[in-house]
Symmetry: D2
Subunit: 389 residues, 4 copies
């Protein structure tokens, strides 16, 4: 018996081929993936999303809301689909949404928007690398033309330069419409680089990837300079509501925030908030985002203040929120439904979606933050999360 | 019409209630989540995993393999389920598995294993905080007894101490059996802290959460001191295979590695490798892990060397791989199947699973790393990822 | 004419040899270093501190104080010698000392004390590295004996372990009495490592230096785990005094602190305070410390709070303050005088000195911090620092 | 007896006033600072450099060289004055200078040059902060005019923008001629900010200092974006010379470099080299630099390669080397002599000086690096550093 996974030359994306592979796995391992084999869509929609398709993970979705957003693109009430297996998560976000709804909603702002690829160029010495940097500035127009020739949507906005040793690192910043755009910018940057290689003398080598775009990683450069959308969600919450709904006080939350800031600064953390990746991962799975991008999106900057009249000002800035409402997994069956639930599917929806994600996250931050302080956190996990040891 | 999400007092986890909520959403938004409403399991298994259940995200699973692992717990060939919507991913990991299979397999080692909760204790001044640190050392036995009284599985291994200002941060390190254990250790640590509060004079306050365990965040402290499993996957690959299968050379990979190290050091990245979170997220979704933990797991340390006889030594250490084969989402329908496919479901499987994850990741690192160098990367995304703009 | 710097075989540390070298430099460059050639001590005291001696840098010393310290080792009023060429510095620290003197003084606490050397050990694979870690724990007693045999003062306190790939990094923590101890611990650690190499099978190589002690560098590991002394200086300052003496308010300082915390978190800074290295460098030069250690000492954690009754609580923790009152440059002519001025010269003085440094730093933090807010900062630099463009 | 430090209203910068203060200190502490009272210059040159002058620290200077530099500003052989009390330091740098002299010298390149002040601006919400960012771009010309009106030398090059929460951080980048320029840019930035405050509606507050310039601190932002000069020193060293002079091999150095890179990445270090701050601090003290700037200058990026023909390529990039040859302490007696020894004193010398510093540092890196590997390090400290326990 061959140990080679079956594959069809003609049409690999059929229920039959998926079944054949599950059968093969049953022979190899004894497990035939009965549940995974049950899915409601036609596999012919899958090319471009998966290879060696065998079935689906059925990830439970809960709904929270309504979430009240005062954004520039998202305005009004939304019901948020959260795909997770972590008990308490939906209930906790829902609780936060109630607090912020009664407080007047969450204000959201997208401050920046860029997707990167960052090649490294190697020269004989630092001096040649520096000269190349000047050349790049002078030839930005042609580089832009070469890069954009490969894409209908992507636009080269600017090129940042960083240097060390005999290397020059170029960070190409693109706008990518409603797509996340990682592949688009890879292709466009490669076209620009290949042109450079063909015309620039003295270039020893170039590397398309240099850890300066930091795809699927958390980095200081992305916290400073944005990857995807840079979104801030803010709210001003009356102290009375914190007492009534969250059973704690503005002062208590504020003091706890200072402890988290201090601890986080010492521990060298990429996020001084509570648990933003929980909500982000759940929304990403539900809506067909590239889930590994939760890593970039895990960076967060929380800032809170004691506001006048006993209110509490709370904000979270997510500097690298990579999202799409077009392409990738967004068009798959359940994923598209969840985007449609938010009114975000397809072209024109991506900024609205980014604002909804950020607003959702702010609700979760307040909910967990206050639960920990009110010492309800362990108790609520006992109640809702009994499957979670 | 109320905008309140329907909820049943008697039994919220039924197909009817899920349907009622979808109907409610249809009324509110126009979208009834037809596909999401199709799932193959009985919702009565869901309490502890989700609230406000409405259906499922159907995330496509592809299979890669066989992966050859020379671990201490995982030994032999495995077929790896990867739940993703990112085209190319399964094909790329599969390609790396072939390379490493022909190279003799991946050696895996778990070097450390701990789950944390890290409260902060506030005193009148730094001096009182320091004295408390001595008391904690002297009273470790009683703290351990109090913490472990709350759990059948968790064991308090040691308590790290960190200090600044008038604060002492205690990082409680537990072993948690085959569960991920975040809630278990939260409860256990709270019991110890409550006891401290009841007996220790001069304590001004304590905070159960202080950003020193850095749950769902990437941090230097977890890179240094481990959260979950610290796993290393290593292999020695003959240069001949790199040329035949990957169409590049040991020297070319090695030089590219140096560029990634240099760029990563400058950019302040938490991972000097290629894209480990891609494979981790896909395995986590397939097997019912807490997907937000891909953030901690995104940290990685890659080290490679030119080995004798033209071989290439390549290793990746994942310092914070949080996984479970028991509890959480691991028992759900498709998730359990995927763990069973690997022979890891339930008690006794967690270290085997951690080794398989790490071995998988090494394959993906080599596959993407060589594709970028061989300049096949953009081309292969054009071929496999046509849905991904 | 030879371009070789003159050197005497018999006695290189004489006024004549210094003069001969200055004469040589005059011939080579035209500059005979007239002022540098004027010093008040006998060069025969210099072996062990300098090679190719030609004279001295005359660095102006200003005195600030009295500084009121409520330490465990330093108690009472001190006059602080600050060697600097930066106008405003002495005046600014002096201003802060007045504020804190009238506030009741600075409370200082040393929370930890260790000097490190951190070798790396290389094995065939991660598994062998892990086994070695167990062996190190079992053989701590013998390692301690071997290390301590090389020194009369140094004591091996504990060995931290860190791992990645096929490496185990050991961070040897010593106490070193009143010396800074970098060389002492290098020698002691080497003795332990050489013994390991002679008895432990399977060790491929070891490196005495691995960037895990981070000598003369700023690092997260030293912020977390201390290098030298970990000292906190704290004070509670009446709001009235801040208004009278600093012309600003507790609220204004506090708000400014939040901005510095936020900015510093984003910028990835090793110190969220104002300018602690200014005072540290000035004290280090005056008292014969190894001035490059200002790099480790530059890390700082500032925490402030609005305290009851309108007071302001302000603290700074310096996690890596490397100081000596014995050995190194401490016994040189002017350097010893400055240590004697503080009552810290020689054996038994090092903790007292560390407390005085930290207390001084707190005064400087408050003085600059309030000056910036009161918008007196630019004006005062115009007044005092006219040489500084 | 008053405990107040004596001060003259008429002329505080006289030998008599310094003597009066030493006398006061003798009465207060018993120590009259006999040696510190011996200095060769007229105190009337000191205003702008020190307050409460009492005398000088006499810091021994040793000379190393000749250093062979192939820079754009520094060309030829130089003798380097190093003010230190750390035995072995001068000898070690001298040894490295010999190696690199025989290798053909050190190539130096300044890639960037900027001095910053970075104020924070606070608005009602993130949206207003973003709008302000657009306004700043549109009004750059006027901001530049307002800033430059305060200085004859400083030129505003560009303004970087960073955002989080309701804050916009502006990083003003100036060129500052031959001065270090920290005060110059503070004054110029304040003028621009005061104008903003007077004309821009909706600004809640601004803070001149926000930890985004990171004066006297080590930060990621300065590693990425330069503060002072960004200088690279490079060399290609024949393997034969490493064997003859350093008693080790290219392969051994290279392997050790990989260990330092790996360890440094884990430890979170701001410098993957050996000990660059040693040489920097010694040159800074000798030449009247602001010594606390050794903190910024401590950041370093070392990159090495195995070059063709058995050579070793070694480079160090110092991203934040803040130096001056004019103003500050550069004009004091011994300090000016040391700058003149290098042909760098006064206007027009600063880039030459920056290159000489970087070239010196490269020599020290190779010397210590090879000594550690050749296991001569502990032995040489025993020989030269007997005063250093």
């Amino acid at each position: 018996m061959s140990n080679r996974i079956p594959r069809s030359r003609d049409n690999d994306y059929t229920r039959e081929m998926a079944e054949a592979r599950r059968q093969f796995l049953k022979e190899q391992t004894g497990n035939g993936l009965k549940h995974a084999g049950q899915y409601s869509f036609d596999p012919s929609m899958l090319p471009g999303n998966i290879e060696h398709f065998i079935g689906v993970a059925q990830v439970p979705i809960g709904v929270a809301g309504p979430l009240l957003v005062n954004g520039e693109y998202a305005r009004g009430e939304f019901y948020i689909p959260l795909a997770t297996t972590e008990g308490t998560l939906v209930a906790s976000y829902n609780r936060g949404m109630k607090l912020l709804r009664e407080s007047g909603g969450v204000t959201t702002t997208i401050s920046d928007d860029a997707m990167q690829r960052a090649p490294a160029f190697v020269f004989k010495s630092a001096r040649e690398a520096r000269e190349f940097g000047l050349w790049v500035k002078e030839n930005f127009g042609e580089l832009k033309r070469r890069a954009e020739a490969t894409t209908q949507v992507g636009r080269l906005r600017n090129i940042e330069q960083y240097s060390a040793s005999r290397f020059l690192f170029l960070r190409f910043n693109f706008t990518t419409g409603d797509a996340a755009g990682q592949n688009m910018v890879g292709k466009a940057t490669k076209a620009a680089c290949d042109w450079i290689r063909s015309v620039y003398p003295g270039l020893e080598n170039y590397y398309l990837e240099s850890n300066f775009a930091t795809d699927k990683k958390s980095s200081r450069i992305n916290i400073l300079h944005t990857r995807g959308k840079r979104v801030t969600a803010e709210a001003r919450i009356p102290g009375r509501l914190i007492e009534e709904l969250m059973h704690t006080s503005v002062d208590a939350i504020y003091r706890a925030r200072q402890v988290l800031n201090l601890g986080g600064m010492l521990a060298g953390v990429n996020n001084n908030g509570n648990h933003s990746p929980n909500g982000i991962a759940a929304m990403f799975i539900a809506t067909g985002q590239d889930v590994a991008n939760v890593v970039e999106a895990s960076a967060a900057v929380v800032h809170s203040e004691l506001a006048p009249q006993g209110d509490f000002y709370y904000s979270i800035t997510i500097p690298s929120l990579i999202v799409a409402t077009y392409g990738g997994g967004t068009g798959l069956a359940t994923q598209r439904e969840c985007l449609e639930l938010l009114g975000c599917y397809g072209r024109g929806g991506v900024r609205k979606f980014a604002e909804i994600v950020a607003a959702t996250i702010l609700c979760g931050e307040l909910s967990l933050g206050t639960a920990v302080i009110a010492e309800e956190w362990v108790a609520s996990h006992d109640k809702y999360g009994r499957n979670r040891p």
